[in-house]
């Protein structure tokens, strides 16, 4: 017998299946679930209880991480609707977006070369602003007037930005050594 694993991540935390969620409610529900199922509660339990508790806690962590991050949440919602976001295969992007990406990439390379921490922070800041705008657009295309194709495109854009943010972090880290 497996635990009640068939339910989706939203149901696990008693949340409505939508992009716009109350993050505080998510945090609280996650902690409540973990307080019940965490292996620390079953350290003197039976073998069956220990195994189940690890499965449950693992599942709760996965669900929480998925719902907590907007991109992962959007990707998951699309997957529930049977839509593949094709992040590895579909690299077609609007030209304007690509130009912006290239400009940022150049700035990052330049800042890295000159060990310019401020320059990196500036790009990271612009990135965050665009990310927030895309999150708002995601809320519209997933909740208000559903357009899954458009939402998938937004997820692909956000994945691009994530990769760039990772590069900035790597550059920041390399400067500290």
């Amino acid at each position: 017998m497996t635990p009640d694993f068939d339910q989706d991540h939203f149901k696990m935390f008693g949340l409505p299946v939508r992009f716009g969620i109350d993050v505080t409610q998510l945090d609280q529900a996650y902690r409540k679930v973990q307080a019940e199922v965490h292996p620390d509660r079953y350290s003197v339990g039976s073998g069956a209880e220990k195994r189940l508790s690890m499965q449950w806690a693992t599942r709760a962590n996965e669900a929480y991480q998925t719902l907590k991050k907007p991109v992962a949440r959007a990707r998951y919602l699309l997957a529930l609707a049977g839509i593949d976001t094709q992040e590895e295969t579909n690299t077609a992007m609007p030209p304007q977006f690509l130009v912006q990406q290239m400009t940022w990439r150049e700035l990052v390379t330049e800042a890295r070369g000159q060990r310019d921490v401020g320059g990196l922070d500036a790009v990271a800041g612009e990135l965050r602003t665009l990310e927030r705008a895309l999150h708002l657009e995601l809320a519209r295309s997933l909740d208000d007037s559903p357009d899954h194709g458009h939402a998938a495109g937004l997820v692909r854009k956000l994945r691009f930005l994530e990769k760039l943010a990772e590069e900035i972090r790597a550059a920041q880290e390399s400067m500290e050594h």
Binding site: E36, P39, D40, V44, A48, M54
Partner: protein
């Protein structure tokens, strides 16, 4: 033993019997054991009243072992056989420990972990650590007047899988049931959080004798959520001693010191470091064995300059942890200092300057980790309801596997909350390929050769297919101790292979069994008696838990037949437990545990549902 009372026919005893459990801080320099008594966490001192047990183990040619203060006092008599700072060797190879500076030991490069050749034979760091743990266990059982249910053992948060597994093996070798491996900064946060009822975001800065950790935690009403952890498992107070020692040798040309002199110089260097915590100037002096008298005068300022690079080295992990937690320095509400080495004023100052606030030092930095571990042990042993305190910890280093071209592919990223599982699919690259090698690695670097190799295993028996047709699913599962197990399966054919990641660093079960055998001075019958007592205790615990669960939820969640089945399983186990064969008891325990899995699953589902709908759990069960 009180637990055995449950074997009396008729009613079971009260469900809330106090179970003896301890927290153990197995430190590089000192080790401690603590417990919760009458609701208060306290360190258990040894017979002479000392709370700290020096982590020093001396071997004698006749096989005798001396652990603690006496071994430390006499360490320069026989430095080759008096092992200090063994924690730095746990799960490490010869190349790793070579970085720590000059050592008098005769090292042997065994597969995975280095071994030490002593006058009492070749010893692994696991065995040497087990000697320390054994003494702590006896010390605890003596002062608590009973056998321990188990212990929470602390490890540096930045310990990798090999180091954690080695620690767990050492505990097992010392006859300790490990309730949980707990990260040291998290343990400290528990002691601090419960003491001060703190809420907010905290950084724990833990500089021990040989390891450095920094953890960023968020505390909210009894929930301790580790957001990120970082550190350097090869950086500690010992390095400050070594800095003084090498300065001393260089400045005074003490080149050809023998091992005894070297150990004396090191001891004096350490004493000098400690004096410089309070004094602005101090002097160290040693009479070397060939009659020469050497002394070193050092000012605080000189010592700080000399060790500034070490202090600088600590700030990079701090920045990394903040970045991983997605926080700025200002978001941190408080900084907690842990570990004896944080007493150094320039370390305090560097941390204060970095965070822009005065660090908290109101708990003894030597004891705080053991106290936190004791609080956790008390809960895990079932003496307190677990939902008063919830720990959500993370893995410190990414886990991955080797792919084409010697590159490491990340499967579980660092700072993932545990327990965590992640599956990744791979395929074959040759036509008719029937086996696939899986190389499990840990670390942040791109090249496998720069990461730590944890294990290699093979998935065999893949049916021959065209290249790229097989679907090989590799699943990583990290448990609540931070330990990894890996399984691989070809999903089209169902061929399965799995491994608990330990062969390349830890000890095999057979090795542990052999060492246990050798370690006990008892006759074989005593060993059997111990095994019997352990299985009886396990049986008693399972029966007690099941009876209580049946009382609470049996009628609601089970059919009459299901209940009868469980009850007959219980009586079969009771029969076995009153017999003398520990193998039979184990079999019955496993059978009963399996037979009640359905019940356990329903109870867990019910408790989750109840928690979310806001009903109080007490209304539903009284476990």
């Amino acid at each position: 033993m009180a637990l055995l009372q449950i074997f009396e026919p008729g009613e079971s005893t009260a469900p809330h019997q106090h179970r003896l459990a301890v927290g153990i801080d197995l430190g590089t320099t000192n080790s401690l054991v603590a417990t919760v008594r009458s609701g208060i966490a306290e360190v258990l001192p040894d017979r002479e009243g000392f709370p700290l047990l020096p982590s020093v183990v001396r071997y004698f040619p006749d096989g005798a072992v001396q652990v603690g203060r006496l071994a430390r006092l006499s360490q320069s008599d026989d430095p080759e056989n008096t092992i200090i700072s063994i924690k730095r060797f746990m799960g490490r190879g010869v190349a790793d420990v070579a970085r720590y500076g000059a050592m008098p030991y005769q090292l042997e490069d065994a597969p995975g972990m280095v071994r030490l050749r002593t006058c009492a034979g070749v010893k692994s760091p696991v065995q040497i650590s087990a000697e320390i743990l054994k003494l702590l266990r006896m010390q605890a059982e003596e002062s608590l007047a009973g056998e321990l249910v188990g212990a929470v053992i602390t490890v540096p948060a930045y310990f990798d899988d090999a180091q954690r597994q080695a620690t767990k093996d050492a505990a097992r070798l010392a006859g300790i049931n490990v309730l949980r491996l707990l990260n040291e900064p998290t343990a400290a946060a528990i002691a601090y959080g419960l003491d001060n009822c703190s809420e907010g975001t905290f950084a724990v800065f833990d500089l021990g004798g040989g390891t450095f950790d920094v953890s960023i935690l968020r505390l909210t009403r009894g929930v301790f959520e580790v957001l990120a952890t970082s550190g350097d498992s090869g950086l500690g107070g010992d390095d400050f001693d070594q800095a003084i020692l090498s300065h001393w040798r260089q400045s005074q040309g003490i080149a050809s010191a023998n091992q005894k002199d070297m150990r004396r110089l090191l001891m004096e260097s350490r004493a000098l470091k400690e004096r410089l915590t309070a004094a602005t100037e101090a002097i160290a002096a040693v009479d070397l064995s060939y009659g020469q008298h050497v002394s070193l005068g050092l000012s605080q300022g000189e010592f700080w300059d000399m060790t500034a690079p070490l202090v600088q080295r600590m700030l990079a992990p701090v920045r990394r942890a903040l970045r991983d937690a997605d926080l700025a320095v200002d978001d941190v509400d408080g900084v907690v200092m842990v570990g004896g080495a944080t007493r150094m004023p320039h370390v305090q100052k560097a941390v204060a300057d970095f965070f822009g606030k005065t660090p908290l030092n109101n708990l003894d930095p030597d004891k705080v980790v053991a106290l936190g571990a004791a609080i956790q042990a008390n809960i895990l042993a079932g003496n307190r309801r677990a939902d008063e305190l919830l720990l959500l910890d993370v893995i410190p280093l990414s886990l991955g596997l080797e792919t084409m071209g010697g590159l490491a592919e990340r499967v579980i990223p660092r700072n993932s909350t545990i327990p965590v599982a992640r599956a990744q699919e791979f395929t074959t690259f040759k036509d008719g390929q029937t086996a696939m090698a899986i190389h499990v690695v840990q670390g942040e670097r791109e090249l496998v050769s720069d990461c730590r190799s944890l294990a290699r295993f093979e998935l065999r028996g893949i049916p021959p297919m065209a290249a790229g047709a097989a679907r090989i699913r590799v699943t990583y599962q990290v448990d609540a101790d931070g330990l990894l197990s890996v399984a691989a399966e070809e999903t089209l054919s169902g061929v399965h292979s799995s491994i608990e990641v330990k062969p390349s660093y830890g000890l095999s079960d057979d090795e542990v069994a052999a060492m246990l055998q050798a370690g006990f001075q008892h006759a074989e019958s005593d060993l059997a008696a111990r095994a019997l007592a352990e299985q009886r205790t396990d049986a008693a615990r399972l029966i007690e838990a099941l009876r209580s669960a049946l009382r609470a939820d049996g009628d609601e969640l089970m059919t009459r037949d299901e209940i009868l089945e469980v009850e007959s399983g219980i009586s079969r186990l009771e029969d076995a437990a009153s017999g003398g064969d520990h193998h039979v008891i184990r079999t019955r325990i496993d059978e009963l545990s399996q037979a009640t899995e359905l019940f356990a699953a329903r109870r867990m589902n019910k408790s989750v549902a109840a928690a979310l709908t806001g009903r109080k759990l007490e209304e539903l069960s009284n476990l």
